[in-house]
Symmetry: C2
Subunit: 191 residues, 2 copies
């Protein structure tokens, strides 16, 4: 079965190159993107949502024009293994999820999803073969509609200089930048 412009094995090679290893989550994600896209009318402009930060953003970025940095892919940290492609004008689209209730026929996918075995006991070749054989049969597609508030693209507005650290940041985010608000990952900032 085709995944974008590639067949299964060629897509696997793309995943290895971009994602660093052949993660099952990205391979299944490729079929999720493909399934969602086939429901959309030809030629429309679409945006993407990933409901998890794991794996799925990379499948979307490999297979669609939507990337994190161009703003057409939005990533939510919900830990839900599902994605949506939608018409960026109307918000109408399709959400694709793993059909978890139907995984009894796919024991390796099930064991992977539920982490039923420690990593050293998993059999990655059997899992990969199961994914390749199953393709979209693992999945479920559901119509979805994006709330109009999320269709409007907001700029970051005027930038201002943080009075504490001197960094430039969007004024709308507060009196000091988010890092000086204590939200950053740094031990010390730009001192």
């Amino acid at each position: 079965m085709r995944i974008g412009e590639w067949d299964h094995d060629a897509f696997v090679a793309q995943v290895k190159n971009f994602h660093g290893h052949v993660a099952p989550g990205v391979i299944i994600g490729g079929y999720m993107v493909e399934m969602a896209r086939r429901t959309l009318p030809e030629g429309i402009l679409y945006d993407a949502i990933s409901e998890t930060v794991q794996c799925l953003p990379d499948a979307i970025q490999l297979l669609t024009p939507c990337t994190v940095g161009n703003g057409w892919l939005r990533v939510y940290h919900f830990g839900i293994y599902a994605l949506t492609l939608y018409n960026k004008q109307t918000g109408e689209g399709t959400r694709v999820r793993l059909n978890v209730d139907a995984l009894q026929e796919y024991p390796h996918v099930r064991a992977w999803f539920f982490k039923e075995k420690p990593k050293r006991e998993q059999e990655p070749e059997l899992l990969q073969a199961e994914i390749k054989a199953a393709g979209m049969q693992l999945l479920q597609a559901i119509p979805a509609r994006i709330h109009p508030d999320f269709l409007v693209r907001r700029g970051k507005g005027a930038v201002c200089r943080c009075p504490k650290c001197g960094e430039w940041y969007p004024a709308v985010l507060g009196e000091v930048c988010r890092i000086c608000q204590g939200d950053g990952p740094y031990e010390r900032h730009a001192d």
Copy 2:
């Protein structure tokens, strides 16, 4: 000047392909990644931080092994045009930012950064030429250290079934999934 494995013009072509257009923010971002990487010891494993969701995540994903979906790139919505590469063991690394105070010599970059002109009055060719001529001279590199709390990679833990919508999500996120908590972008969810 080299940007990763490419020269300037070849990197521009990569950006056009991945990001969809030759965004100045991704081109400058390429030099930011390059500058940060040159400060790191050869052969270490490093992770990446983008302090903005705009443009910089794509420069990082094009030029490093770090992607959103593999977890080696973390994206913060701080609206700050800066990125950090750091040793994933020690947290030691380098933060690179646009040297905003030195932009008087680079009027097109300055006008772009501060949005001094409406888009139709900007001169994209002159901006691109200025970026190409300046390269890393636009930038400033500062040692940075990531807080130890952010060096630990946490799994999502056990998943459970949302009693409201039936979706599987990480139990740690609450009694119902984040979408049923009202945080999602959907008008209606999976009905």
